[in-house]
Symmetry: C2
């Protein structure tokens, strides 16, 4: 493996000159530059990353930090990762993937102190996240995907939940739906202050209010079974619902299954919009789901790009929201029943629909809280 010394000798210049043509931090005459470049090519020279990192105190490595629990990554998180990896790679940086859960602050501190990372992108951020402080104290430049509660002097990229919910609701209202139920994450997740769950809840209330409609909401465990239960509870409470807006990617197929089980057709009887969903997942359903497609890889890319901008000196704070894009597929259509509050409702209820159970929902809090 050729070293910079070898290149210098072959080109009959000093090592520093070679270094400078590489880094471009001082003017080099065209003649010498050519000589050096030729020597590099001849020797197939590649700078040693460790040596460069030690001397320059910049590793050209950025970390992608995320908790990696049992259930693995969803499609959206995976897109963050691939987007980030692509962006880092394109900029000549390396991306190290580090499993750092919210509880592993000590590990994180250790990682940060090794001076291996020039900066970090933090995923799956909680409203109150100890990892942020740890990184900041360690002096590691940081960009979040998601947001903590207090975002002053923090850089982040996140989904524009407000705008996303507004568009989804507008789409359904435009189709004549008025009894729209919002299926969120679990009550526990909302309690815990999980940003997407909290923000979409508020956005939904606001959006519905904007149309003069009542915000019907129900939590769901992150599973197919949770989806089934949530839909059952929603129907029990709101028998005349004509549309469901689903935030819970894990529950969506349970919801669809339960609809089918009850003989409710999508979209004829009930329209379904899935929020923050990848196109791949949306296409799995039959009919394919109308969805608010999350800008997953774009967020990953932008997070890394913002971070690199930090590292390159332009230390501006970067706070950016990206809405999910409405992609209309087959799961939404015109409302099948008359608006809620009227009494000619039964005329429009399909046969199978009369079989609905009217049991109380279990394990789920009251809507709207």
């Amino acid at each position: 493996m050729a070293t910079m010394h070898d290149v210098a000798r072959l080109a009959r210049v000093s090592v520093s000159t070679v270094s400078y043509v590489l880094t471009g931090t001082r003017p080099i005459s065209q003649a010498t530059r050519d000589k050096v470049l030729a020597a590099m090519a001849e020797l197939d020279y590649q700078p040693n990353a460790m040596a460069r990192g030690l001397a320059s105190r910049r590793s050209r490595i950025v970390g992608l930090l995320m908790p990696m629990d049992e259930r693995g990554l969803g499609a959206t998180e995976t897109a963050f990762v691939t987007g980030a990896a692509a962006a880092a790679s394109a900029a000549g940086y390396h991306l190290v993937l580090s499993p750092v859960g919210v509880g592993d602050v000590d590990d994180l501190r250790r990682l940060a102190s090794q001076r291996m990372l020039d900066g970090a992108v933090l995923m799956e951020v909680q409203v109150s996240d100890a990892r942020v402080g740890a990184l900041q104290e360690a002096g590691v430049p940081l960009v979040l995907i998601g947001r903590t509660g207090d975002t002053s002097d923090l850089s982040y990229v996140d989904i524009d939940f407000d705008q996303t919910v507004r568009e989804a609701v507008a789409h359904l209202v435009g189709l004549g739906h008025r009894r729209i139920v919002y299926v969120n994450h679990s009550a526990a997740t909302i309690e815990a202050g999980y940003g997407p769950a909290v923000r979409t809840r508020e956005a939904f209330v606001a959006a519905m209010a904007g149309h003069g409609l009542e915000p019907l909401m129900i939590p769901a465990e992150d599973s197919a079974a949770g989806g089934r239960a949530a839909l059952a509870a929603a129907l029990a409470r709101t028998p005349d619902l004509t549309a469901v807006l689903v935030m819970n990617e894990s529950a969506i197929f349970g919801i669809l299954g339960e609809l089918t089980t009850r003989g409710l057709r999508v979209p004829d009887d009930v329209s379904v919009v899935s929020m923050v969903t990848s196109p791949q997942v949306a296409e799995l359903a039959t009919p394919a789901l109308t969805a608010m497609t999350s800008p997953g890889s774009a967020l990953g890319r932008m997070a890394v790009e913002a971070l690199l901008r930090h590292l390159e000196g332009a230390g501006e704070q970067h706070q950016q929201l990206l809405p999910c894009a409405l992609e209309i597929r087959g799961s939404t259509g015109p409302a099948s029943t008359a608006p809620a509050g009227t009494d000619d409702l039964t005329d429009h209820i399909p046969a199978a629909r009369t079989g609905r159970h009217r049991i109380d929902p279990t394990g789920s809090g009251p809507p709207g809280t």
Copy 2:
């Protein structure tokens, strides 16, 4: 940030002593070790990764190399990544994620020459993969997830397709199925020599022969539409099929949709087994899919562990196959019709089933080739 020098001074020993208590490469008296450890704790010392890497010529970084094309990672690939990341992290190594497609051999050579990686795990391996040679020439220790055609002097972990297919077929045969259709990846993918497609095809022929059954096979494009088309073609050719074995994770939902469209119930009329599928995806279907669950994160973990064993000196070649685990869910049941070849078949065909089209399959090669 404290350096080793600071620790040495505080502990009143030489830097080399500090270094040796850290690396353990030479005996240290308990007394000195304690002094040093105390000093480290006091100063909150963490070794500088770059300096250590430069001096020792070992970065403690391993690469996870994979092509990152448009459609993103599937659940199985994602599991490789998380498994690998967890294993690396547990062993005190860092994992850099590098997007290196089959065509990017130059990028790969450059990456390898930077001496940043102690070794690499290569994903999405093709039968003939230029990246393998490039890495070997660069002297980068390597473990594959998957296999090339010639595996002599290569280390790899891969799915045991033979065993997996055998178990899946045995499960179906045990339920009385005899007309079983195997839905593979696309003809083009098979032509290209994509290992999983080729190996499962051969395994299916062998497994069916072992039961004295005819191996019915059909390719499918990697999409829901491809799945629908494949099922239609399969029914056209084999109207009395009672089970489908699906290798194509992207097509599976199309197949299920098409079955539903035709009024064929799962598992009453047709049993479905999905191969090399993650539990998460299997749970998405209604009913949940009986599946051969891929040992995704285990493979990722084992690949990294094998690689690290290489790096730590035990340079044994590691070749290991792991079968997918049969997880019986709701999509398989007893065969609904009499064995193929008998004529009392029509008695058992459900009403909706008579509507099958008998058109020729289009865009799909003959089965069994």
